[in-house]
């Protein structure tokens, strides 16, 4: 009896060990452990003015834009595509809403309309990307490069080259407000709902298996009756929408619209989040959850660096080193080599039988 139990335990252990989220989650936990030991008051959560405050809450709040974009990016990468225009869509979305509200304490248009128009335009931009990729067959990186480059210009046009500062107070709620009863930032709720909805869509409809299948073999998928180009189009639309929501939150958080710098290089962070989440950039199987953990890892590193006082110039270097370590640990080849080095001490390598 005992041996069977141990066997079951081992099986469970193996399942945990081989699951997609194991390594990203380990990395996240390690960074947290490091932080709570070396940074004073890292884990401290206090209640100020009836709301939760503290570094973990800050991380959750600041990660929302990246998290949202990573969710969209995960789906696209799963179809063997990529979307490098998300930063521009992010900026455009913020620019539109700020422009529609205007720089006065009395809004030019209602906030509701501003959000609606910004999201609609984001969706249209995503559709444009998807159209180029799925209907015209342009390589995803080239197709989305078009909008990446021109999008910044469009955002500048919308804000007329200015940084629009917002004085209309309700605008701040999206990125900086708190949910009354949960006492948590509102943006976390938005990110959490998009996360839950996308997980539900992937798990409760056939979209998940269709996306996987297309990423692995689009031709065989077409032979199986899957409408390949329609589904690819959908993933780009979804990514555009995610980037749009993220742009709104960000713009609300910094209380202005900056066409030049909003979401600059966020596409690279999002791709990195997907990669840290152990999702193959070659498409196929994917996990939204592990991409989100990847995004959290990135944000936690950034926050940590600021907390221990690494200067902003050095930040990218330190970040790069940590990311390289995470990626190496995730690489099965690298782990095998490490194992070989340690197990070779006695001479012959012992094979698992």
């Amino acid at each position: 009896m005992g041996s069977i139990e141990i066997n079951n335990d081992l099986k469970l252990l193996k399942k945990v060990y081989t699951s997609k989220i194991f390594w990203p989650l380990t990395a996240l936990i390690l960074i947290f452990v490091f932080d709570s030991i070396f940074i004073d008051g890292f884990t401290k959560i206090t209640i100020k003015e009836g709301n939760f405050y503290g570094i973990p809450i800050d991380i959750l709040k600041n990660v929302t834009p990246l998290l949202l974009i990573s969710i969209g990016m995960t789906m696209i990468i799963a179809t063997k595509g990529i979307d490098i225009s998300v930063g521009s869509v992010f900026a455009i979305s913020g620019a539109i809403s700020a422009r529609l509200i205007g720089g006065e304490s009395v809004p030019e248009n209602s906030y509701f309309i501003a959000i609606l128009v910004a999201l609609l335009i984001s969706l249209i931009l995503g559709t444009w990307n998807g159209f180029l990729v799925s209907k015209l067959g342009i390589q995803p990186i080239v197709a989305t490069l078009i909008l990446m480059v021109s999008g910044r210009g469009i955002a500048q046009l919308i804000t007329e080259g200015q940084i629009i500062t917002i004085y209309y107070e309700p605008y701040y709620f999206l990125g900086g407000g708190y949910i009354p009863f949960l006492k948590l930032p509102f943006s976390i709720l938005i990110a959490a709902s998009v996360f839950v909805i996308s997980i539900l869509i992937v798990k409760c409809t056939a979209l998940g298996i269709f996306i996987k299948s297309i990423g692995i073999n689009p031709i065989a998928s077409r032979f199986s009756g899957i409408k390949v180009s329609r589904i690819i189009l959908l993933t780009y639309m979804f990514s555009g929408l995610c980037a749009g929501i993220a742009g709104l939150i960000y713009s609300s958080n910094i209380r202005c619209a900056d066409g030049n710098n909003a979401g600059l290089f966020i596409e690279l962070d999002a791709i990195l989040a997907v990669a840290i989440g152990a999702n193959s950039l070659n498409g196929g199987k994917f996990s939204i959850l592990s991409s989100c953990i990847g995004a959290l890892v990135i944000q936690t590193i950034t926050t940590t660096m600021y907390s221990i006082g690494v200067s902003p110039e050095k930040l990218p270097v330190v970040k790069a080193i940590i990311v390289i370590i995470i990626c190496l640990v995730q690489s099965e080849k690298f782990r095998d080599k490490l194992k070989a080095i340690f197990s070779n001490k006695g001479g012959m390598k012992i094979e698992n039988i």
Partner: protein, 506 residues
């Protein structure tokens, strides 16, 4: 013995790929001013031979003699320098450059270090006039037809007088009739200049029109070299397929044909269904409860008919009726919804989704038939997968195993399961037994017959005549992208099929 006027002699050529002997002691000869047609079915070794000759790959044993000199070709560029030029089916020229630029690129005449454009145009049009072609060389290449583009490729190859051998690899497969005639005129000019031509094609008529000699390969071995005039079409086919003609001629006699318009259980009727460069207009009757075979050589249009019926390719002429209702199958999903299923020819590229599990591979087509929102629950998936693993005897540890770890035969069964699950009325099987072991082969053949007995219409495509004869109750014979005849019951035998293939329709 000194080869009298052979410009090319290849002797004792052998080449092994991992696990396969691609060529075994093959010999090939080419004389000046001669067209030698290289013939053989899939996997016969034609392309390997050409790849060795042009230096894309190296051979293990054997030697190549060009103009009485032993040569060792190491790269395609070296082959071109030695005078061996190749024009491929896919034209590799620059479409957005002018004809003159395409011919002269890399060898532009210069004057004071600048390109002399007058000279470029003059030389280019001269090179084309040598082939009896008179076109405006300053226009972009893309503005001309495929045939002309091919001529430009040939003219480019012949700009230097050093070219002695021209390899034409499937040059006519995307040309229409008048363009083929034009190409043959060019070949005649080249012949008269003493150039040796190696001609590879699947079109039998063209072989007889243009070639002087036929070299036949089969399974990597040389079957023989024959003078075209002395080899009848039926002999050619029997040699390509490896069947002795005399042996067969004693077999069954012709029975009177059934009347194909008098049909019960009709499922699909096509009227002049076709697509340019793919299938010439074809009339078919597909009946429930029968196994309809498609026989034909490689490139005869067998696979293309299947692709057309299943909506992978869009038809550009004709009509299709399902149960007497006119339907235009625009995509595979529509085909699935109309109870058609297709097990494609290339299991790896068109069939399995290799990183998905057996279970997911099985339910994929049913899921796309039902649509995105009617998701088949995991528990139901498990039940379905288990049922079909038992039913088709798929050897896998469980339904969650990744499909790429299965053997070829079992992968094929997974795809069969995928389609049986959609409960098709017409099941199209394109080479379902290729590359799988004998046991699995027999199982699949048995399954085909049983499915038809249960009332399904099965369309069976195979290049192995034995299995077609064993399974089919009626057969369409295709040649050069057209249906040439239909055979029924007792008429389905090797002798008649080959005779029909050879064009000896009585």
């Amino acid at each position: 013995m000194k080869s009298d006027n052979n410009i090319l002699t290849m002797k004792n050529i052998s080449k092994t790929f991992p696990g396969v002997k691609a060529l075994n002691n093959v010999e090939f000869n080419l004389k000046k001013g001669e067209v030698n047609a290289l013939m053989g079915e899939n996997g016969a070794g034609k392309s390997t031979l050409i790849r060795l000759l042009t230096g894309v790959e190296t051979f293990e044993t054997g030697m190549v003699v060009l103009n009485d000199k032993k040569i060792l070709v190491k790269s395609p560029i070296q082959a071109e320098k030695l005078g061996i030029s190749t024009v491929y089916q896919e034209i590799n020229l620059c479409m957005n450059l002018s004809v003159a630029e395409n011919i002269m690129i890399g060898r532009e005449p210069k004057k004071f270090g600048m390109i002399n454009w007058n000279e470029v145009e003059l030389s280019a049009s001269k090179a084309l006039k040598n082939l009896n072609i008179d076109i405006d060389v300053t226009k972009k290449l893309e503005s001309y037809s495929l045939a002309i583009q091919q001529m430009v490729a040939i003219a480019r190859a012949f700009y230097f007088d050093s070219t002695k051998i021209l390899i034409l690899d499937e040059p006519t497969s995307s040309l229409d009739k008048s363009e083929v005639i034009k190409l043959f005129e060019v070949i005649d000019i080249l012949k008269s200049k003493g150039i040796g031509i190696i001609f590879i094609t699947h079109f039998l008529d063209q072989v007889y029109r243009i070639s002087d000699k036929i070299t036949i390969l089969r399974n990597g071995e040389l079957v023989g070299e024959y003078e075209t005039r002395k080899l009848t079409q039926i002999e050619l086919i029997s040699k390509m397929l490896g069947k002795e003609f005399e042996e067969l001629s004693t077999l069954k006699k012709v029975k009177e044909k059934e009347n194909s318009s008098d049909i019960k259980n009709l499922f699909i009727k096509t009227k002049g269904l076709g697509k340019k460069f793919s299938v010439n207009p074809i009339n078919m009757f597909i009946k429930k409860g029968e196994v309809l075979g498609l026989a034909g050589l490689l490139g005869s249009g067998r696979t293309e008919v299947a692709r057309l019926l299943f909506g992978i390719d869009k038809k550009d002429c004709g009509e299709m009726f399902i149960e007497d209702k006119k339907i235009n199958i625009k995509n595979p999903q529509l085909a699935i919804k109309n109870s058609i299923a297709l097990c494609p020819e290339n299991r790896k590229t068109e069939g399995i989704i290799e990183d998905l599990s057996v279970k997911e591979n099985i339910i994929l087509a049913l899921q796309s038939k039902r649509g995105v929102f009617k998701y088949i629950k995991e528990s139901e998936q498990d039940k379905i997968a288990k049922k079909y693993i038992d039913l088709l005897n798929i050897k896998t540890s469980n339904q969650n195993q990744v499909v790429k770890s299965l053997s070829g035969g079992n992968q094929q069964k997974v795809i069969l399961a995928r389609w049986l699950l959609t409960e098709p009325v017409l099941l199209i099987l394109d080479e379902p037994t290729r590359g799988i072991d004998v046991g699995a082969k027999a199982e699949i053949q048995k399954l085909i017959i049983n499915l038809a007995k249960e009332g399904m219409a099965v369309m069976f495509i195979s290049s192995e005549l034995e299995e077609l004869i064993r399974c089919c109750t009626s057969m369409i014979v295709l040649r050069d992208r057209s249906k040439i005849d239909e055979l029924f019951d007792e008429d389905i035998n090797e002798y008649l099929i080959m005779k029909t293939l050879a064009g000896g329709k009585n």
